[in-house]
């Protein structure tokens, strides 16, 4: 059996593909739960019909997406044991706790209160019903915290000691794990970026209707809300990303070096940040590049004359620490993923700033292409988040738990290439089919517009068939 069909390589591909697929739904769920809660709060406080319409309309888009997030999430939990049993044995004592806390504190909360929200319009008083969507949103955000704390242990293991006899990491300090500095930086970064994703969805849908000059009373406030959210969340994403960068430099300097494809340790003006490079990212054949001097130093140390360690020095250091081997990730992936993350995120914010200016004071641009940009900009922040996670996870390689366990040593020893081939094909087929159905349903629901969702003469706010939603 060749390398491509080894359980290790296939398991890596499967984990990457299923995680990216799952993550298509995660930021939308986090962002849209809160967005729906905000619209419903506006309705409860003002009793204005348009806010109720927006609540139902965006709530529906949220729900179509929610089910996919739930069912693809179970796959994630199972895969640690199924494909990475050696990893699970090694970290279970530490890594299992945040997962269990996530289930007990967050998943139960969101799964219970989402049911109450969907089916409870006519069964609960207004205020209590409003609380159910906020508790759902709280559950989604809380779950992000625990899973990021678990992930942070893989990036920067803390709060444990190695048991040589058992050959495993053992938890010694749960607070250290939950307050891992990588988690404290990555969590807000992920949450505010999720709000960029939901903002892009709101903008996309609102722009589609405004371009057709319909539903102005609901879609104008919606697009303004979306654009302001995008700008606010965008600024916060930059600030939290900066903090995450600092945490990364101090815990995984190799990842920062790989982000810039910096082979030689550099400082001051030489620690420049290249926006674009033509040539090979191994630095041997650089044809052309646009560089900003000092920027890499500033990103890494918040000073202009700081020193940034290069891949070659780190490789030498790690070889002496951990033995022979290649300790650099795949550089072209980290280099470009890092740039695409920043570029796509900034582009989303710029589109919103320009958009707000274009629609200022009730203006409605006549040109179709203006609206088209707003509609088609939807995937940008989502793509930025996904390449951001690809950077985070690929940048950790060759480690599965940094400095403790390599990815190649984490795979289940008793699964065959055929087993994983079967599962990867099965997941690809079912996920692919569901993506088509999901996209069509969301598109259909979005294009139908808010008026059809609910008859507004009903002051209780319940949709016409609230009791029997399905």
């Amino acid at each position: 059996m060749n390398d491509l069909l080894s359980p290790l390589v296939l398991s890596q591909w499967q984990f990457g593909l299923t995680t990216i697929y799952h993550f298509l739904f995660v930021p939308i769920t986090i962002g849209m739960a809160t967005t729906t809660a905000v619209f419903q709060t506006a309705w409860v406080r003002t009793s204005k019909a348009k806010y109720l319409q927006l609540t139902h309309f965006f709530g529906k888009l949220f729900l179509i997406n929610f089910a996919m997030g739930v069912v693809t999430g179970i796959v994630q939990e199972f895969q640690f044991g199924m494909n990475w049993s050696t990893y699970s044995r090694f970290v279970g004592d530490v890594f299992g706790a945040p997962l269990a806390l996530e289930g007990l504190l967050a998943f139960f909360l969101e799964a219970t209160f989402i049911g109450l929200w969907i089916f409870g319009w006519d069964k609960l008083p207004r205020g209590l019903h409003l609380a159910t969507i906020w508790l759902t949103a709280a559950g989604t955000i809380l779950s992000a915290y625990f899973i990021i704390a678990a992930n942070a242990f893989m990036q920067h293991p803390v709060g444990f000691e190695l048991n040589k006899v058992r050959g495993r990491a053992e938890l010694t300090d749960i607070w250290a794990v939950l307050s891992n500095k990588v988690a404290l930086a990555a969590f807000p970064h992920t949450i505010v970026a999720s709000f960029m994703v939901s903002a892009a969805l709101v903008i996309c849908v609102a722009a589609w209707h405004l371009a057709r000059n319909q539903h102005l009373d609901t879609m104008r406030p919606a697009i303004k809300f979306g654009m302001w959210t995008m700008i606010g969340a965008g600024i916060l994403t930059v600030l939290t990303g900066d903090q995450l960068g600092l945490a990364m430099v101090s815990t995984q300097p190799m990842k920062m070096a790989a982000a810039e494809a910096l082979y030689k340790t550099s400082s001051g003006a030489d620690a420049s940040f290249s926006i674009f490079t033509l040539g090979t990212p191994d630095g041997v054949n650089e044809l052309f590049s646009i560089r900003i001097p000092y920027l890499l130093s500033f990103l890494s140390t918040h000073t202009l004359n700081g020193t940034v360690e290069g891949i070659n020095d780190l490789q030498a250091e790690y070889t002496s620490l951990y033995g022979p081997g290649n300790y650099a990730p795949v550089i072209w992936v980290t280099y470009w993923a890092f740039r695409w993350m920043i570029g796509l995120g900034l582009l989303s914010v710029i589109i919103s700033i320009v958009g707000l200016w274009l629609i200022r004071g009730g203006r409605m641009p006549k040109q179709r292409w203006v609206w088209r940009v707003a509609v088609w900009a939807f995937p940008l922040p989502l793509a930025a988040m996904i390449v951001g996670w690809i950077f985070t996870e690929m940048g950790r390689q060759p480690w599965i738990v940094f400095s403790l366990l390599k990815t190649k040593d984490g795979v289940s020893p008793n699964i065959t290439g055929l087993d994983v081939l079967i599962s990867i094909v099965a997941f690809t087929l079912i996920y692919g089919a569901l993506a088509v159905v999901e996209f069509r349903l969301i598109k259909r629901a979005a294009q139908k517009g808010p008026d059809d969702v609910v008859p507004l003469d009903d002051t209780s706010g319940r949709p016409s068939d609230a009791v029997t939603v399905y």
């Binding site: 179970i74 199972f78 699970s88 007990l104 139960f108 053992e170 009791v467």
Partner: protein
């Protein structure tokens, strides 16, 4: 106090919660073709579990994560060893979950019957395979000295395990049908009572054979007592259902499932995953568990938060206690469901 033993109990409790709760979701799903005579019937049935199937399924996620945290070795051995069986369960759960959400989005009957089919298969496959999996855990599987499963999928499909699968399939089916009778009205309610009587007989025969086999092969005094209690409770549920006492029938059915799973855990003790080839390779409560520190952290969190979870989930069930009637279903022409 020995915390690993406590966690053996908590993991058991979480799986019991999962089987009792998602068990009737599976039953409702499997009973769609038997009880759903028209679109309105089928919508009534799906709406009986509409608000709760997701929280019921979450018990699996919490049980799995707790297994990972409290018994990493057990989790790793079980999940890598039962790879293809768990893959089938995952695919089925995906199909079922999205179908509940997707089926009502379009009015065409072809669209709906496609997702109805996915709900039926997506409910039956896990209902069968969870029994197969747990029977294999109790019976023991081939493990090497590193606790890695050395058999194949087909080794898991042995007669005893298949009987276990058939047991959970029938238990969950009857459980779900009784649930439909408890949560609906009129003709559907009467038909589900009658169906529960018929499936109840098969369930009693199969479940009793399985529990008998389990205890003859792996029994201990406690597991014998629990299995006997489960059999009595199951017959009690059957009688209650026969006498049209839905609430009693459903309660007894839920307790039956709980006690039957307890009986399996009692038979398993002190192992968590016996090695059928060499007892020295067995995973036990002692050698599979996490450190006392991790278990202490988990115990306090569970002690504080699980009661809270039970309260708000109980309240949810109370909010949705009213029967779902045909009259509450709007005309099929309506496509405006939120």
């Amino acid at each position: 106090m020995d915390l690993s033993l406590l966690w053996f109990g908590i993991v058991g409790f979480l799986f019991i919660g999962y089987f009792v709760l998602d068990g009737f979701d599976f039953g409702v799903g499997m009973a769609l073709p038997f009880l759903g005579r028209d679109e309105i019937d089928r919508r009534v049935m799906i709406n009986t579990i509409g608000p709760i199937w997701d929280l019921n399924e979450t018990w699996l996620i919490v049980a799995g994560a707790s297994l990972f945290a409290a018994f990493p070795e057990w989790y790793a051995t079980l999940f890598s060893g039962f790879y293809l069986a768990l893959l089938l369960i995952l695919l089925a759960l995906i199909a079922r979950g999205v179908s509940f959400e997707y089926r009502h989005h379009r009015p065409e009957s072809r669209w709906k019957s496609w997702f109805d089919g996915m709900i039926v298969v997506g409910s039956a496959v896990p209902a069968l395979l969870w029994g197969v999996a747990f029977a294999n855990i109790v019976q023991g599987v081939a493990l090497d000295s590193n606790h890695n499963y050395t058999g194949t999928l087909f080794d898991l499909l042995n007669p005893y395990a298949l009987l276990g699968g058939l047991t959970t399939l029938l238990l969950f089916f009857t459980h779900g049908v009784v649930f439909v009778s408890l949560r609906t009205d009129g003709d559907l309610r009467l038909r589900s009572q009658r169906l529960a009587v018929r499936s109840g007989i098969a369930t009693i025969v199969v479940a009793a054979s399985f529990l008998l086999w389990t205890n003859l092969a792996h029994g201990k005094p406690l597991s014998w007592i629990l299995a006997g209690a489960a059999a009595v409770l199951l017959i009690g549920s059957f009688i209650a259902n026969f006498r049209a006492k839905e609430r009693g029938a459903f309660t007894l059915m839920a307790v039956t499932i709980a006690v039957a799973v307890l009986s399996l855990f009692a038979a398993l003790y002190p192992n968590v995953m016996p090695a059928s080839n060499d007892p020295a390779n067995s995973l036990t409560i002692a050698n599979a568990s996490s450190t006392p520190y991790t278990l202490t952290v988990m115990s306090w969190t569970t002690l504080i938060f699980l009661p809270l979870v039970l309260v708000y989930q109980g309240w949810t069930y109370w909010v949705f206690r009213k029967r779902v009637t045909r009259a509450s279903i709007p005309q099929p022409t309506s496509t405006t469901a939120s």
